[in-house]
Symmetry: none
Subunit: 203 residues, 4 copies
């Protein structure tokens, strides 16, 4: 189907744009550079995007969805804290692919600061992130894996902010050093663990 191809092509372009941004920064994303990255001509871009603004948005959206997909994948599956922790490692920028995604997201975040539309969308996504996390925490409380004396909403805020900051600060380190750095975060999860869960684990 033509429409399928069309959408597929758009996604390829969004990804190529994301690659450029991740590699050389937002300023490097020019139409010429993108055409070269795609191995196509300049004019073809206008068949898929009305202007550059839309390309930028598509690239941001692409990276954002990649990350969102990983997060929801990590959040939906696990019923225990110990199942959750390794899944999280697949979200954080610990390999080339996730590094790329977070780099683009970092650009998106700052770009959104002065683009009202994007900002609004970003805000909504953030809010739903808090809620989703809060529910996850409630589930883990219900199943007895984490402590009951914490407020799921407050803790959700902390968790999301912590993950945000961790991801951003990881980008500053060379890829090779990041795994080690992430290990530090483990004590945070452990502090959430319920006594019952600890006892069960001990057995």
């Amino acid at each position: 189907m033509k429409i399928v191809d069309h959408d597929k092509r758009r996604e390829e372009m969004a990804e190529a744009a994301a690659r450029v941004v991740a590699a050389d920064g937002f300023e490097a994303l020019t139409t010429r550079r993108l055409a070269k990255e795609l191995g196509c001509s300049l004019g073809v871009l206008s068949h898929y995007f009305p202007n550059k603004e839309e390309i930028v948005l598509a690239a941001f959206q692409w990276a954002n969805q990649c990350i969102a997909r990983r997060i929801s994948h990590a959040a939906k599956g696990p019923l225990t804290l110990d199942q959750f922790k390794p899944l999280l490692l697949q979200v954080l920028p610990l390999n080339k692919q996730t590094d790329l995604e977070w780099r683009v997201r970092a650009h998106l975040n700052t770009y959104a600061l002065s683009h009202a539309r994007l900002m609004k969308k970003h805000r909504e996504e953030l809010r739903s992130g808090y809620q989703l996390t809060a529910e996850l925490l409630r589930d883990l409380q219900a199943s007895g894996h984490i402590r009951n004396d914490i407020d799921p909403d407050e803790t959700a805020g902390t968790v999301v902010d912590l993950m945000t900051g961790l991801a951003m600060n990881l980008l500053v380190l060379p890829l090779a050093e990041r795994k080690q750095r992430v290990a530090f975060i483990d004590h945070y999860w452990e502090a959430l663990r319920s006594e019952r869960s600890t006892a069960a684990q001990a057995v």
Copy 2:
């Protein structure tokens, strides 16, 4: 001879550049716009900066130092957890001035992602941030204000990442809503409090 305080003028310019970046984004920082912001002509910029790159760096540095100054001010003073918490509120982007500073810093962070020099500097600052925080935690442990059963280094990592993420995510909210949002973080500090401190506080 006209008497002009060169350094002061440079700082004014850096601040003006920061204002532009904070208001309308990095792309909006053109020499024309900056000249207009300063109420001076285009050419005058070259008396104080050899090129635009240096203006950008100066703007970033200015914002960074503003934040660093607030942080060190918050970190040096307090001897107790309860003294520390309100000081932190002066660091986070909860008013127009700090909002401006963090916005610029957000741009700096993403800009650094594809500028090796800046990245290195950013990395070093981050590292020293971790160390400074770790020492602060050790002091608070020594004075009995926070629990002894936490690892200061690991917790420092968490604290810095959390503050980073919190600051970034606060920028997404309207200024008016932020204070409320920050309250959520309080439980994190409380979880660090030692029993002795709690007892003392209770009294």
Copy 3:
């Protein structure tokens, strides 16, 4: 696809640039002026030349090749001194076209004085000019048209320098007066003529 002869277009541009230099001097060759001269927009220049430096070089090269072509045309053909003299008139700046070429060459020569690369090339071309002239003189000696008691290499130096100076000094005169001025040079050629040739001519 638009069909455009890239090389031809480049040459057109080089010639237009040469026209500007010849008409109003090197300083007058701005990108805006060149675009106007070509009747095209500013941006189109960058499709054919990576920067202005290359445009300048192309203009210089164009004029230089025009002159070189005329010289080699004059030098290759003739077997006698009498055939050579009229051909030389086609090289010297005696009409609008050759005037343009020499004007540009004059600019090239002075420009090269402070541009090492160009200087080296200029030096090599000058050297080959000496050698080519020396060979021509040797041929004319061999065929008995010029005197045998002159040193072809030394005379070649004199001939090239004389032509250089003559061309330069002609540029100072109005076009209309130049033909008359060039006639003065005839006695120089006659001084080279062999007695045998003179006798033959007399018959």
Copy 4:
């Protein structure tokens, strides 16, 4: 006297400007560069020259007068061909000082091509150069040092053009190689020598 100092200062400035042009080309002669070369401030230039155009002209004039002075010095003195030849070597660009002068003159010549006023002046100087040379040749003929069967006017044209071309082409060579190159020109002078003079010389 103030006026003397004023004129002296103007000459110093003209010379400094000439140095810049000789060293790095016409484009390098900016007001800032000249001020630096002189070790003075920007504004002081306007006390001596109303605008840059006048500085350029002064620099050209300075170099031109240097050369003219050497030429008239060489032309006035000698009564014989053998006295004339070594004096000529002091005119040609064979040392740093004369190299500088000729470099500036080369720039002047091309600059004049598109500046009517300068062109007119240049033309007049050239014309007087021809006449002066013709007179010199007539004197040498009268004193029997050069052949009588040459036309002084025609030969003067050749001599001036040859010297012009020689000087220009010498600038292309490294200073060290120029003396050797100039030796080639000697046969030209010898061809002018009268038989009587040759006989006298032989004795």
